[in-house]
C-alpha cells in the first residue's frame, strides 16, 4: 500500500511541478464557468417566462440547470482527461524512467494503481473547483442536495473510467501525443456509441450499444437516481481498463 501511495504521490507531484496541473485545472475551471454562466442565464430566461404565466409550477433549478450543467461537465472531461493520462506511461517509457519503477521491488499492480490514483486525485481536485459554483447556487437559491451529490458521484465514476482507459492507451505507446489522441478518440467513441444503434432501440444490437455508452449510464446519476446496474457498469469499466493495462504492461515487458 505504501508503495502505491508513493507512486500516486509522485504522479500527483509531477502534475504540479510541470504546467500540466495548472493548465488542466485552470482551463477546466474556465470552461465550467462558461457553461455555468450560460446555463444560469438560460434558467433566468425560463423562470422569467414562467413568472409571466399564471399558475405555472416553480422552475426546478436541479432539473433545468444543474442536470444539463453536469452533463456538459462530462463533455469537458472528455477533452481534458486524456491530457492528464497521456503522459503517465508514455513519458516514462520515452525517458527511460520506467526502468527505475520496474527494477524496483514493486509489482505491476502497485505501479498501475499508483498512477491511477495520482490521476484520480488531480481529477477530484478539478471537480472540487466546481464546488464553488455549487456553493453560489446554494447561497442564492434552494437546489436539492441529493441529486447534486449523485450527479457528482456519476461524474467521478465516469472520470475514473476515462482515466483507466487513458492509462491503458498510454501504456501501449511511447508517444504522448499518440496516447492523448487515441484516448480522446476511444472516449468519444464510447460517448456516441449508442448513436450507431437503431434510434428506435428495438434490436439487440442497439440495446448492447446503448448499454456500452458511458453517457447513457451517467444520465440517471444526474437525475438523482443511483442504480446498481450503472454502478456495476462503471466499476467493471474501471476494473477492465486497469486489468488490460496490467496485461499491456506485461506484454510490453515480454516484447522487451
Amino acid at each position: 500500500m505504501s508503495n502505491i501511495l508513493a507512486i500516486a504521490h509522485k504522479e500527483l507531484k509531477s502534475y504540479f511541478v510541470s504546467p500540466i496541473a495548472y493548465v488542466v485545472v485552470g482551463l477546466f475551471a474556465v470552461l465550467f464557468g462558461v457553461f455555468f454562466v450560460s446555463s444560469l442565464s438560460f434558467l433566468l430566461r425560463i423562470s422569467l417566462q414562467a413568472g409571466m404565466m399564471q399558475g405555472a409550477p416553480p422552475i426546478n433549478i436541479n432539473e433545468y440547470m444543474i442536470r444539463p450543467l453536469l452533463g456538459n461537465t462530462g463533455v469537458i472531461m472528455l477533452f481534458v482527461l486524456p491530457m492528464i493520462t497521456m503522459r503517465s506511461y508514455a513519458e516514462e517509457k520515452r525517458s527511460g524512467t520506467i526502468e527505475l519503477l520496474i527494477s524496483s521491488p514493486l509489482t505491476d499492480w502497485q505501479i498501475i494503481l499508483g498512477k491511477f490514483l495520482g490521476a484520480l486525485c488531480l481529477f477530484v481536485l478539478m471537480l472540487a473547483v466546481t464546488g464553488i459554483h455549487m456553493a453560489i447556487l446554494f447561497w442564492y437559491g434552494e437546489p436539492e442536495l441529493a441529486p447534486i451529490l449523485s450527479g457528482y458521484l456519476g461524474l467521478f465514476l465516469m472520470g475514473a473510467s476515462f482515466i483507466s482507459i487513458g492509462l491503458l492507451i498510454s501504456s501501449a505507446t511511447k508517444n504522448q501525443v499518440v496516447a492523448g489522441m487515441v484516448t480522446f478518440a476511444v472516449l468519444l467513441l464510447f460517448w456516441v456509441i449508442s448513436w450507431l444503434g437503431d434510434p428506435a432501440g428495438g434490436t439487440t444490437t442497439s440495446q448492447v450499444l446503448a448499454y456500452l455508452s458511458v453517457l447513457d449510464h451517467f444520465d440517471d446519476f444526474s437525475k438523482g437516481v443511483i442504480d446498481t446496474s450503472h454502478l456495476t457498469y462503471y466499476a467493471s469499466f474501471i476494473i477492465f481498463g486497469l486489468f488490460l493495462t496490467a496485461k499491456s504492461v506485461d506484454s510490453e515487458r515480454w516484447r522487451g
Binding site: 509531477s14 525517458s95 527511460g96 527494477s103 524496483s104 509489482t107 515487458r253
Partner: protein, 332 residues
C-alpha cells in the same frame, strides 16, 4: 551471489542473448566487455527483472529473478544506460522517491539519502532539478539511486559513459570502494575500465560469453601462445621452412620481404624458450638478426583477439550482430 544459468533471450528470430551462464562470487566486480550490440544491456536487464528471459534461470542474491522478483529486486541496485531521472524533481526529491519505492525504512531515509549523496558527491546539487544537471551529475545521481537501499548486488550499465576523465577516475574509485560489501556487474566497451576496476571479466560477443576468467588468467591464457616478430637479413633465401622447424613454433608468416630482409611473424605454441631457439636458428643459418620482438598482449589485444577470431567462419553472424541495437528498445 549472482548465478546465471543458460539464459537465452530471443526477439522473434533474432537471438540477443544466447545460452549465457556465469557466476559472480560475493564482493567481486565482474566486467562485461563486448562491442556495442553484443547483448550486454539485454543480459543486465534480464538480471534486474526488467525483461524476462526466453529460457534459463537467474539467481540474484539467492532469489530467482523470475520466481521471486520482489525479493530479488529488493537486493539489487540498477543503473541503466540512461540514468532514470525525473527531470522535474530535485535530486533530493528524486532520492526520497527512490527510497520510498525501494523499501528503505522511513526512519533511515534521511540518513541514507545524505550518506549516498556524500558518497557519490552530489550533495552540492541536492536542490537542483535533475533535468538541469550535467551528464556527469546525472550519472552519479543515478548511481546514488542504485546504492540507496544498500543492495547486495549492483548492476551498472556503462557507469562511466559520458563522464570527464576526472569523474571517470572518481567513479572507478567509488565502484572499487563499493565492491567490499556489494557484488557488482558492470558493462563497458572501454577496455581500461575493466583493467582498472574489475576482478573478473566476461567477454561477450553476439550474445554469447566467449571468455570468462580473472583478468590475469585471461591475459595469461592468450599470452601462452605469443606472437614474435622477427626481422632478419636472409640474402633472398626463404626463411619459412627453416623457422617452421624450430621447437615450439606453430606457424610462420612472412609479412614482407625486400632487399633480402624479411619481416616474419611467428605464432608460438608455448612461450618460454621459443625465442631463444629462434635466435639460435637464425644464427645457425648465418642470417643477420635485425630484430626479435615479442608482441605484448594488452587487454586490448585480448579483446580484439577474442571478438574477432573466427571472423571468417561466422562472418554471416557478425553481419547480423549489427542489427540488434535497432531491434532493441531505445532504453536497451
Amino acid at each position: 551471489m549472482i548465478e546465471v544459468q543458460n539464459i537465452t533471450k530471443r526477439y522473434g528470430s533474432f537471438t540477443a542473448v544466447d545460452d549465457v551462464s556465469f557466476r559472480v562470487e560475493p564482493g567481486q566486480i565482474l566486467g562485461f566487455l563486448g562491442p556495442n550490440g553484443a547483448g550486454k544491456t539485454t543480459t543486465m536487464r534480464i538480471l534486474t527483472g526488467c525483461i524476462p528471459a526466453t529460457e534459463g534461470r537467474a539467481l540474484v542474491a539467492g532469489f530467482d529473478i523470475f520466481e521471486q522478483p520482489i525479493e530479488a529486486k529488493q537486493r539489487t541496485g540498477y543503473l541503466p544506460e540512461t540514468p532514470p531521472l525525473y527531470p522535474d524533481m530535485t535530486v533530493q526529491e528524486y532520492l526520497t522517491f527512490a527510497s520510498r519505492i525501494s523499501g528503505v525504512k522511513t526512519s533511515d531515509r534521511t540518513n541514507r539519502i545524505e550518506f549516498v549523496m556524500s558518497r557519490t558527491n552530489v550533495t552540492d546539487v541536492a536542490n537542483r532539478h535533475c533535468g538541469k544537471l550535467s551528464k556527469g551529475y546525472r550519472q552519479r545521481v543515478g548511481l546514488a539511486q542504485a546504492i540507496l537501499h544498500d543492495p547486495d548486488v549492483l548492476i551498472l550499465d556503462e557507469p562511466t559513459a559520458g563522464l570527464d576523465p576526472k569523474q571517470i577516475s572518481e567513479t572507478r574509485e567509488l565502484i572499487k570502494d563499493l565492491a567490499g560489501d556489494h557484488t557488482i556487474i558492470l558493462s563497458t566497451h572501454i577496455l581500461p575500465e575493466v583493467e582498472h576496476t574489475c576482478t573478473q571479466v566476461a567477454i561477450i560477443k553476439t550474445g554469447r560469453v566467449i571468455a570468462m576468467d580473472t583478468l590475469e588468467n585471461l591475459k595469461k591464457r592468450l599470452a601462452g601462445s605469443e606472437t614474435v616478430r622477427l626481422e632478419i637479413a636472409t640474402d633472398g633465401a626463404d626463411p619459412t621452412e627453416v623457422l617452421a622447424q624450430v621447437d615450439g613454433v606453430a606457424s610462420v608468416t612472412v609479412d614482407s620481404s625486400k632487399d633480402g630482409t624479411s619481416i616474419v611473424e611467428i605464432q608460438t605454441a608455448q612461450g618460454g624458450q621459443t625465442r631463444q631457439h629462434l635466435a639460435n636458428a637464425v644464427v645457425a643459418n648465418r642470417w643477420g638478426l635485425l630484430e626479435l620482438r615479442r608482441d605484448k598482449m594488452g587487454l586490448e589485444d585480448v579483446f580484439l583477439e577474442l571478438t574477432t577470431q573466427d571472423e571468417a567462419t561466422d562472418a554471416a553472424e557478425t553481419v547480423v550482430s549489427e542489427e540488434p541495437d535497432s531491434s532493441l528498445p531505445s532504453g536497451g
